[in-house]
């Protein structure tokens, strides 16, 4: 397992800047595919799962993708290693659970591309990019798809498109999403309006850690819901050229409104968050995320910064992943219970934001 304390210290590449990073933290495109000739996973025997893995690995090995791809047998991983990969958005919670044959191919060293094998579908191809880079992410994912398809027959019907285990993914099998940081819209009380508007446009809104996770620390994942009857390019154009710029402008306007009309309130809110993070002795993940969100806003607006290297937006953003329990235990290089993690989390954040 190459993900050691070292990579936990390095943070995640997809959190490293990019276009429109003040609002758009990262972009992700995921494709769902199934191979012909094998039942979907709910009906596949362990032997068939192994065959799917073997077929995919054989195909990968014969493409240029093999260079720099690391294969991981997920069922062999410890709970902690699985946790770390989920926190780094390299695999889903679904892939992490269970002990039937399943695998993950990760593009190293930047970890921007992953292929999950035997998740909900035989294949889940994912490309992650920092900032607003949906076009690049789509291009990347589609290229990988082409390479896989060059030697593997995908389950496809002219009517329903790429056939997936769940009809919510059928058609293009594509999920395009961005992670948005919208603290000002929450402070001005407009966030629910934005979430409703996004839902009305057929987008789904989830938290930092996807399905079921609360939108912690004002971070929201916005993604297309519908996968059938709309071409990838249409979904892409709508998200990248219409919806995301609109939401980003809305957030920026809210930030400017706070700065010009409620400067003292804004400064107070941000400085209190920094004060809490700099002095707390025990931190829950929610507290850490919530206050880091405000500190990030402070560094972006110039309310904070210049005083410590830890107060660069980039450094603050990396902490969002590093305060998660798997990363903490990797950094500490020992298993910790909840109380110990709260203590260690506070210590880590204190040290960074000095």
């Amino acid at each position: 397992m190459p993900w050691s304390a070292c990579s936990a210290r390095r943070g995640a590449c997809w959190l490293a800047g990019g276009a429109d990073a003040d609002v758009v933290v990262s972009s992700r495109v995921r494709l769902a595919r199934n191979l012909c000739g094998y039942p979907f996973l709910s009906r596949a025997t362990p032997g068939q799962r192994q065959e799917v893995i073997a077929a995919v690995r054989a195909r990968l090995a014969s493409t240029p993708l093999a260079q720099g791809l690391l294969w991981v047998d997920v069922q062999e991983l410890s709970t902690l290693d699985r946790l770390l990969l989920v926190e780094r958005h390299l695999m889903s919670k679904e892939l992490a659970k269970g002990d039937l044959p399943r695998g993950l191919a990760v593009g190293l060293p930047d970890e921007q591309m992953t292929i999950m094998v035997n998740e909900e579908d035989h294949l889940r191809v994912q490309v992650l990019r920092p900032g607003l880079a949906l076009h690049e992410a789509w291009q990347g994912a589609s290229d990988i798809d082409d390479q896989l398809e060059g030697g593997l027959d995908m389950a496809f019907s002219p009517r329903f498109g790429y056939l997936t285990a769940c009809p919510t993914n059928v058609g293009t099998g594509v999920r395009m999403s961005v992670m948005l940081h919208l603290p000002a819209l929450r402070l001005t009380g407009e966030i629910d309006k934005v979430k409703r508007a996004a839902a009305d446009m057929g987008m789904s809104v989830r938290g930092f850690y996807g399905e079921g996770s609360e939108a912690t620390g004002d971070f929201f994942q916005l993604s297309n819901q519908r996968t059938l009857g709309r071409a990838e390019q249409v979904i892409l154009r709508e998200l990248a050229s219409e919806i995301i710029p609109k939401v980003a402008e809305y957030e920026r306007a809210a930030r400017q409104a706070l700065l010009s009309r409620r400067a003292r309130f804004l400064e107070d809110t941000i400085c209190r968050a920094l004060g809490l993070l700099r002095h707390a002795r025990l931190l829950t993940p929610q507290e850490a995320m919530g206050n880091l969100s405000l500190v990030r806003l402070g560094t972006l607006l110039g309310v904070l910064g210049g005083e410590a290297p830890g107060l660069e937006p980039h450094a603050v953003t990396q902490l969002l992943v590093q305060v998660q329990q798997g990363h903490l235990q990797k950094l500490a290089d020992r298993p910790m219970d909840q109380q110990q993690r709260r203590e260690f989390r506070a210590e880590l954040v204190r040290g960074r934001l000095k």
């Binding site: 012909c36 000739g37 039942p39 009906r43 909900e120 593997l152 995908m154 059938l228």
Partner: protein
């Protein structure tokens, strides 16, 4: 005029006015029924013209799915509802009657793929490969020649429509089996 969400001829035309905005829908009977357009009476402020009243095809919608079992993997619609996952690619054909309304509900009414197509499914016709065991190596895949299978399935599906509207249920059943068998070769799992 074509149906808004599939290739069939639109026979149900609906005009609705909501919040002062006028919108039109043109649907085939199957899609109209799946969306509940044929069942619900006109809402206040909503005009509706139904050129072809519900015929035998409408009655069939409720009847056909009851007996549906996927011949490739044994999945039933009840089983799908429980697991929330389909068993194999052939389920999409075998359980289509049940799945279509559900797909349209989660996909905002869409029932026809638009977008990327795997090149191999359209590509060279290198024979259909052998029946049985899963083969995924390049060149001998069960999916080579998929385009022909796909065209054949399309034809069979039209025949199935006709058989159903003529109430030739035995013929319909064997057509459905044949479609499922072909789909299994393009994308289904080995039969249990």
């Amino acid at each position: 005029m074509k149906c808004d969400c599939c290739e069939r001829e639109a026979t149900v035309h609906e005009v609705s006015i909501q919040h002062g905005k006028r919108s039109e829908r043109h649907l085939c009977e199957q899609c109209a029924q799946a969306k509940g357009v044929l069942q619900i009476g006109p809402m206040p402020g909503q005009a509706k013209s139904v050129e072809h009243p519900a015929g035998p095809q409408v009655a069939r919608g409720g009847e056909a799915p009851q007996s549906s079992v996927c011949p490739a993997c044994g999945m039933t619609f009840a089983g799908f509802r429980q697991a929330e996952r389909l068993g194999c690619a052939a389920c999409y054909v075998a359980l289509e009657g049940h799945l279509l309304p559900l797909i349209q509900r989660v996909q905002e009414g869409a029932c026809q793929h638009v977008g990327k197509v795997p090149k191999r499914a359209l590509g060279e016709s290198a024979g259909l490969g052998q029946e049985g065991g899963p083969v995924v190596e390049a060149g001998v895949g069960v999916g080579t020649g998929a385009a022909e299978i796909v065209a054949r399935v399309r034809g069979l599906r039209e025949e199935l429509e006709r058989a159903l509207s003529d109430e030739q249920y035995e013929r319909a059943a064997s057509l459905r089996d044949e479609i499922a068998r072909l789909v299994r070769r393009v994308g289904g799992g080995p039969a249990l």
